[in-house]
Symmetry: C2
């Protein structure tokens, strides 16, 4: 049996959550349309020449709240009844900000449990959208206990960052739009993988809309639970401590996201920290889009030769752009 001992949300004891189907993703897309952006799909011929591939970037860094997480959060929150007393999550990253924005839209309070160690910039993002930050000790037990206490005391609804049917259906709408807007068949879709919500949504959308498209998940070498799980057929814990610049993908998978990956992913690969930094910088330089390190995983996989892209049309979801401009990896340690 899987025994969680990592810091990830996958360790929450909870009943198995069913994955969404294609109709749920389509319904999410209709539901989200008035509230979120249809982000542009960009390409660069200079990058295409360098890699001998056609690479299409779906720019979720331009999404409301600065990441694709708004899709899942809005899809969950928009389905709550109007008298919902609030929502709660624990997240040190983009899901907290996205949930705060979605809740503000409905007029619900949003409680975001964040460890005392979370950077100020992340707390500020949650507060900027009207979220109520509750500090807790930086342990999973403290995060869970604090979130549970808020549920008990306020009646707020817990919205998990990825182990949620509605959240995964929302995340799948990014791939839906990318496939619709590509203007040609996408041979290969590369997806950054943390808890696996985006991967699961993408896999289901691709299976439903474009079954010939192969979907491959990409992880940092330093946070490779999904890849190990894919190879072994058994869900794996994250090995601690997780030391990667890609701070958006340190969670371990849930039962649900693991099962969707096992069932539908064509492959899973890992990339080095140096390749992540090189790929991140390459996107800034060539695509002119500010992306956070987690977004750079797919291009890093091409750079390092972990996936063969030559001759293919490749879709990449640039998941988010919430990065501290004072602490860019190449100004801290020149890894490229």
């Amino acid at each position: 049996m899987f025994r969680a001992d990592g810091p990830s949300e996958a360790a929450l004891p909870r009943a198995a959550v069913p994955p969404p189907d294609m109709r749920a993703i389509e319904a999410a897309h209709r539901r989200l349309r008035p509230f979120l952006r249809r982000t542009p799909v960009l390409g660069r011929s200079s990058l295409d020449s360098d890699f001998g591939a056609r690479i299409l970037f779906k720019c979720e860094a331009f999404q409301k709240s600065g990441s694709f997480k708004a899709r899942g959060a809005f899809n969950a929150v928009l389905q709550l009844p109007p008298d919902t007393p609030g929502v709660v999550t624990h997240s040190s990253g983009n899901h907290g900000a996205a949930l705060a924005l979605a809740a503000r839209n409905r007029g619900f309070p949003a409680h975001v449990v964040m460890p005392t160690t979370a950077p100020d910039v992340k707390r500020a993002a949650v507060r900027a959208y009207g979220g109520l930050v509750t500090a807790c000790e930086p342990t999973l037990a403290a995060r869970e206990a604090t979130a549970e206490r808020i549920v008990r005391e306020t009646g707020a609804v817990f919205i998990h960052p990825f182990d949620s049917t509605d959240v995964v259906a929302g995340q799948g709408t990014a791939a839906l739009e990318l496939i619709e807007d590509a203007g040609c068949r996408i041979d290969l879709l590369l997806v950054p993988v943390g808890g696996g919500g985006l991967l699961a949504g993408t896999l289901i959308a691709a299976a439903g809309m474009s079954p010939a498209t192969r979907v491959i998940g990409v992880e940092p070498e330093a946070a490779d639970d999904a890849t190990r799980g894919f190879r072994s057929g058994q869900r794996q814990p994250q090995v601690l401590p997780v030391a990667t610049i890609a701070d958006g993908v340190t969670a371990a998978m849930s039962e649900m996201t693991f099962s969707v990956m096992s069932w539908l992913a064509a492959d899973m690969v890992t990339v080095s920290e140096a390749a992540i930094v090189r790929a991140m910088r390459l996107v800034w330089e060539r695509l002119k889009v500010v992306i956070e390190p987690s977004c750079a995983l797919p291009l890093a996989a091409i750079l390092e030769g972990k996936v063969k892209a030559e001759g293919l049309t490749v879709g990449i979801i640039l998941t988010g752009g919430n990065v501290d401009l004072d602490r860019l990896p190449w100004t801290i340690s020149p890894a490229s």
Copy 2:
């Protein structure tokens, strides 16, 4: 009489060049469509709330060659006969790279005269598009003499960065698309001004398509020839040395661009260096678009209260994203 003593291309002795009309801009747009990108128009509700205005950003940082300069360069080069022996310009910036790309598209050699003091990254950009860099001493006389020698020796056609009917018609297509894609009336268009090619094209497009739109040009305080000229009614030289972070807007206007500005601009304003850096960073943080300092002039004008944006729909052309990621202004000297 105007006596040029600055480093700018406006100092070239040349016959007065006629400005394009609206039909020339529309023709340019049809001509460019198969070759260039219709760049997205992005907005951010958080910026809108901060400024009490609706701000629409036309993202020319995503344009081919990384700046709007591809519009003018392609419009000029696409009209040359097929047996043209080459093109030549002198430019230490985006026009050189754009011209190289446009010429490669036609199979013409592109000669770009660059001073020996130009940064390696700029030379690399020209070369990446197949441009032939000819080094010269860092004086206007040397740049002109070198370009003239290349014209004499090779028969190449000189394409001026802004004192050209075709180039200005091409630059006007950015505003044409912005006005078409805005989905509502734009009250105010803010344009960075160096030599004035983009300003002239924007003024003509706005006058033709949306006469109720006021167009205001924005310059750095340290490179304010256009603003002084607008106030005095006489074209003014740039005061040397020009010390601004906005290295894309250090040229002085030509007779043609000056006359269009005098005739059609609603106003001209200047902004401080500190405001440019703050605005640049704000665009990176909120819009997630990598822009070079020159692009930040319009938002800096709103930040500093040089233009009143409150209650208005404001269009801003983010002109380009060619910036040295190792030398970001806020990592060099924290001005924000």
